[in-house]
Amino acid sequence: MTTELLNPSRRGFLQTAAVAGVGLVVGFHWSVKSTKALAATTGGQPLSMAFVRIAPNNTVTVIAKHLEMGQGIYTGLATILAEELDADWTQVKTEAAPADSALYGNHAFGGTVQGTGGSTAISNSFDELRQAGATAKAMLVAAAAQRWSVPVAEITVAKGVVTHAASKRHSSFGDLAEEAAKQTPPKTVTLKDPKDYTLIGTRLSRVDTADKTNGKAIFTIDIKQPGQLTALLKRPDRFGGKVKSFDATAAEAIPGVRHVVAVPQGVAVVADNFWAAKKGRDVLNVTWDDSTAEKRGTAELLKEYTALANTQGFPARTDGDAIAALSKSKNIIERSFEFPYLAHAPMEPMDCVVQITKSGCEIWTGDQFQTADQGNIMRLLGLPQDQVKINTLYAGGSFGRRANMNSDFIMEAVEITRAVGGEQPVKLMWTREDDIKGGYYRPMYVHKLSATLDKNGMPAAWRHRVVGQPIMIKPTDKGVDRGMMEGSTSLAYDIPNLAVEQHMTTVGVPVLWWRSVGHTHNAYSTEVFMDDLAAAAGRDPVDYRRALLQKQPRLLAVLNLVAEKAEWGKPLPKGRGRGVAVHEAFKSFAAQVAEVTVAEDGSVTVDRVVCVIDCGLPINPDVIKAQVEGSV
């Protein structure tokens, strides 16, 4: 297949440059803003907007625009590019891209924000990285053809070696890198037929395994700049509280404490090291103004939510007339669910290093929304984009927590650094207690599902009400919040009358997307309720779902395969049973069967879980398997 590279309406243009000592650099520009970025990087300076760099020492460095937070994306991105480049996997390294939405915008987010989330990293990178790899390869081949005075067509590339078989000449990528950089980039490149893939679809070792096994991998917490201070922030006990006054005397008496400063988010203790900052914060006295703080507790919210669940909500999806069908039915099946607030609790508590100097602001963090964070810093400090530098590090987990359009912990770190003054770098650290108490949770939700069956036992009407805080829109907005409703509005079962209703609540507890977002609670409630309906109909839960998924081939396929692999229907010992669930989220289709033993004392043991997933083309099946293992 051939892909047109120079499509100004979509692709922008291709840029390559030769840089002494750097070798071949290839990058693509996807939006009009890149013109400016390009101008800043011509004239022999190293390019920063490239997807790949080939150095004379024969390393191939793939520039990753997405955050590696455990999901294996550095490995996946490098695999895609290395496939088209025909690199040897052992020569491939990855490096985090700088923040630049023009170059590294996520196409699934409209291309305007550089960020990672929503299971988009592989799919939105697939085309651009294949093209980058193929272009780099073409330029290496052109360089070899020129050096050896042979036709391009006679040159082959495999495992990082460029070969002219007829004359028995060959060369490494590194050896050709500087000459390759002087070649005119091709206007079109031919991408491989997937049947010729040698890396994609194979079990390559993760690029980060070795360093994460010997303690060398660097996370934000490990950054130590000269003169760096460590800050801990005392936050209000109630969400929305403000500092009324504080007494820094005791904190300032702790050896190593350098500054006690008020910022909009609380009062920071800034010290030579973590332990001094911690001891200082422990004795810091702050009086809070709670006049605008959220004062309701879980019990009160639950009461309000439950009352709302009994009333008609905003129609998020309407098929047929479920309300009429339910009002006519004498036999309604109902179930309610309560889901608590959940902290993301990644192993690495939130942290960010900031340095503000005359030339701008530089931060180091496991950054999941690079250009959103960059924009928030630009607005706060009144700086242009090129004076806000983001260094993206490995994140010790995230599960959505580090992707925040408010840049909460990053803004705290910048505010504290500014309040301290001077040019010393400051590392803000959250403790585990801060992490659990500090907000940005998966929201609390109440669901109420109601259904009625037809004479054959199949669902004739289904109503699903979801009550809770929205994630992606404001509670006062009109419309459907995908973050709370996805998985309920996308119900795949063939039911003639369907009413999915939304009640958005206004609560002062900060909330955020949490691993798989709306699907976490909507897949649970809809699948448990589907079991209720199958039981009411006296039908097998797998057969019942099959009957309702006849128009959903991919869901049906994973359901059938999981039933087969789990030996659905095979008798089990007393006390042991099986449950099934099937769901589509973020364009992946998954089904699971769990074998569970309930002991006489009521305790539950999960004996076995079989999961089948169809996530499209598998770049690295072992990484996908690891994600599934971790999610069961």
Binding site: M69, G70, Q71, G72, S205, R206, D208, T209, A210, D211, K212, T213, N214, G215, K216, A217, I218, F219, I221, D222, K224, T230, P255, G256, N273, F274, W275, A345, P346, M347, E348, P349, Y394, A395, G396, G397, S398, F399, M429, T431, R432, D622, V623, A626, Q627, E629, G630, S631, V632
Partner: protein, 152 residues
């Protein structure tokens, strides 16, 4: 002043005796492979060896290790450590990786005490180490793999 060794090097600490070993390792000695996860001995990310015993550095006051020998992930050596790290690599255990230094330190300690652990031994030896990515399936497999390697 408190004297101890870290990975075979002599160190002296002159700060407060209640400073946790974790922060001495990270902020004074300057080794960052040992991680902070909870500060309350609940997650195991800070696990090091003190005189060979797996120890939660985040709740171990530095004054309690006077004269003792501390080994961190950067200093592990010997056949057990080699077998464990190789198994971790071969089975691609890590995801985010933040807890893995602690996991590996606990696994080395487990296999040093119990060369042929069964699943219950592994549960008992590793139950103090949390992995939020839930790499537990592979951790268990890697410990079995390392045990087999050591058996020859």
């Amino acid at each position: 002043m408190i004297s101890f060794t870290v990975n075979g090097q002599d160190h002296r600490f002159e700060g407060d005796g209640d400073t946790p070993l974790l922060w001495v390792i990270r902020d004074s000695v300057g080794l960052t492979g040992t991680k902070f996860g909870c500060g309350a001995a609940l997650c195991g990310a800070c696990t090091v060896h003190v005189d060979g015993q797996p120890t939660r550095a985040c709740v171990t006051p530095i004054e309690s290790i006077e004269g003792q020998t501390v080994t961190t992930i950067e200093g592990v050596a010997g056949p057990v450590a080699t077998a464990v790290q190789k198994a971790w690599n071969d089975l691609e255990v890590v995801q985010c990786g933040y807890c893995q230094s602690g996991q590996i330190m606990s696994a080395i300690a487990l296999l040093s005490e119990t060369p042929k652990p069964n699943d219950e031994d592994i549960n008992a030896g590793m139950s103090g180490n949390i992995c939020r990515c839930a790499t537990y399936v592979r951790i268990r497999a890697a410990i079995h793999r390392a045990s087999e390697t050591l058996e020859g």
